[in-house]
Amino acid sequence: MASRDDIKFLSNPTIGQQRKKYCRFKKYGIKYIDYKDSEFLLQFITEQGKLLPRRITGNSLKYQKLVAVAVKRSRHLAILPYVADLLK
């Protein structure tokens, strides 16, 4: 009998599937967001330097708020820009 591994699909079956979003802070146990770490915070802002919504990053509400505070602090200290073009 053919096992599951022997079945060949005509197209890649994983293509249409949506990947489940998750909160990386909860998943990896990150409790503190450093406002001095610009490389890390760049993940949560757009190319214009705007905060990315939770809908896209998948952060939980608790950590999205902390990210927002950290980004605002780093903007004040000129680690991240307030307004930018082609940031990434």
Binding site: K31, Y32, D34, K36, A78, I79, P81, Y82
Partner: protein
Amino acid sequence: MLNIATNWLYFSAFLEVFFCKSKIYYTFAARIKIFFHHLLLQYNMNQYEVTFIIDPVLSGDEIKSTASTYQTLLKDQGCTIVHVNEMGLKQLAYPIGKKSSGVYYCIEFSATTGGAIVKTELALRRDERIMRFLTVKLDKYGVKYNEDRRSGKISAYKKKEAKKKPYEAGSAAAAAPAPAPAPVKEEIAPAPQPEVVTPVAGNEEE
């Protein structure tokens, strides 16, 4: 916290009952009381972090002296300095006062009262050498993060490079050293040729 405070009340009451019989013992009790009070204060200490940007136009010694003045200022107010992080000269994300770079310093300290912070912030605001500053109270996770950062458990986040499959990485590593010697050979090889060729060519012309 409340539990500790009530415990402390019970304990101090007990001390007074126990030692109040004679004057000598009373002073002894007072000393113990003060000692425990200090212990409690240490327990109540909050940890803060003040980050500031120093004008890069100043010379290296002046920059260091400005940073040390704020350290001494904090110490004079009864704060204990946990760590000083010299983040060095950095490019600013946007110009501040027509300057595009600044020297970042981060002083981590613990204090019992907020009065010290008010005074240091006033001094920082008055100082022309300071371009920006920010004082932040660290929660317990922040304190732990900074400790881990210092001990090297956590390193600064780096952007992940595109994942290379093992065979690609191997071929890239093999390919990388190979082209390096090749141009050297080429440089050496053609150089003697024209020296040999030109006289021959000259001879033919003659």
